[in-house]
């Protein structure tokens, strides 16, 4: 799947802004027990990006199927649809400079409306929905915009503390144009009281950072008599201008 041919996008050869690791959750967040034995403890090796980090795979729209961005229907039997609150999730992928990032592959996955994942490791007693698989994907447009349809996932209990519940969330995997921009995160829903109790969320120190992962109800994007809408923007690392480096491309 080569990148879009005939693209007239300007080449992007600059290195990325340094990652603010105080904004992300640290590797070790003991309240989230799985991190205890899976968190590196030694200092990271820091260096300015080389081409190996500046370059990255870019996916073409041709890989997408007709229902890839419609989780209500992409696993459903013909004429049927998934059960749950019908929603649209939309937003833009931007970089830290505020520029929309086009041609970005976004993949998303989630539990069904009852909070149950279609996965053999999930034994929660809420039932599977025979018409819901739980995965989808799309590629951002020229302004970095994206949208997909799904049902609102349910909260669910998980084995961490004796009585921990995940807030309703959708997992997002995002590619930028450089492999150093690669990011996985989770989207939460405005007003969910479970957000502030969740040990995974609370690994993030800054309240503003948690709010940046909380989608806002967007009644202007709602489809009357069909679906509510939530807006969720995603920000990837910004790319430095290469003006003062070896070449002038990208300016």
């Amino acid at each position: 799947m080569p990148s879009e041919s005939g693209s007239n996008r300007r080449p992007e050869t600059g290195a990325f802004f340094q990652r603010d690791r105080t904004w992300h959750p640290p590797a070790l967040t003991p309240g989230y027990k799985s991190s205890v034995l899976r968190s590196p403890q030694k200092a990271l090796l820091s260096f300015d990006n080389t081409l190996s980090e500046i370059a990255g795979p870019v996916f073409g729209h041709a890989m997408l199927g007709e229902l890839d961005a419609d989780l209500i229907h992409n696993f459903a039997r013909p004429g049927e649809s998934a059960i749950g609150e019908r929603i649209i999730v939309h937003g833009r992928v931007l970089d830290e400079r505020g520029v929309g990032v086009p041609g970005v592959l976004i993949e998303f996955w989630q539990a069904n409306a009852g909070g149950r994942y279609r996965h053999k490791k999930d034994g929660y007693l809420a039932p599977l929905d025979p018409n819901f698989g739980g995965c989808g994907r799309t590629i951002t447009g020229e302004d970095g915009g994206y949208a997909f349809r799904t049902v609102k996932p349910g909260p669910y209990p998980w084995p961490n503390g004796p009585n921990d519940w995940r807030p309703a969330h959708i997992h997002f995997s995002v590619f930028g144009h450089g492999f150093a921009q690669r990011l996985i995160t989770q989207m939460y829903f405005q007003g969910d009281p479970l957000i502030w109790k969740c040990p995974i969320v609370r690994g993030i120190a800054d309240k503003a950072a948690i709010e940046a992962l909380t989608a806002v109800l967007d009644t202007q994007a709602t489809i009357p008599m069909d679906a509510l809408a939530y807006k969720f923007d995603i920000v990837l690392r910004g790319r430095r201008s290469s003006l003062f480096e070896n070449r002038l491309e990208g300016n």
């Binding site: 034995l37 980090e53 996955w109 995160t185």
Partner: protein, 204 residues
Amino acid sequence: MAQSLDRLKESPSQTAGPYVHIGLTPNFCGIDGVYASDLGSTMVNDRTKGERIGLKIRVLDGTGTPLKDALIEIWQADADGLYNSPAEMRGAADPNFFGWGRCPTDMETGVCAFETIKPGRVPFRDGSLMAPHITLWIVARGINLGLHTRLYFSDEEKANAMDPILARIEHRVRVPTLIAERQGDTYVFDIHLQGEKETVFFDS
């Protein structure tokens, strides 16, 4: 007061969780019919240039137990050292090699098996050549921010000795944590998340 830089903050990372397969390799976990195949599961075809190699990678936790719910992505240059990417200004990469692959760890053994080619050498920022390497990105339940590192090759001793990234590792005893061992046509690589043999992870 001064002007504002008006920069945005990167979206904070959150763990991929235990069900990462649903989103990234749905066919692997039994969700059939949504995508024809799992993205990144095939890296080479008959026309791809270069030496065919296998990679067998495991990710081990602080007790030495292999993770069985991790996912690894790899990113590499083609046989001539060119990336299939808009950032590649030196020429067109092999059209039969995308350079990116994705593999979940096996649910029984914890092994991630890639079939790829040995990459050529890519220039460092000063124009000198780095040793052949593959960039790795590791996510899993319990990993809050995806881990970046590199895999270098045990049969490239001379190039490894000159590599500018390996040269930056202060504690030389840790350099071997980035070097995969050749066994026939396969390179074996264990990633240690913690402990004496903790892999050198990158902040780049």
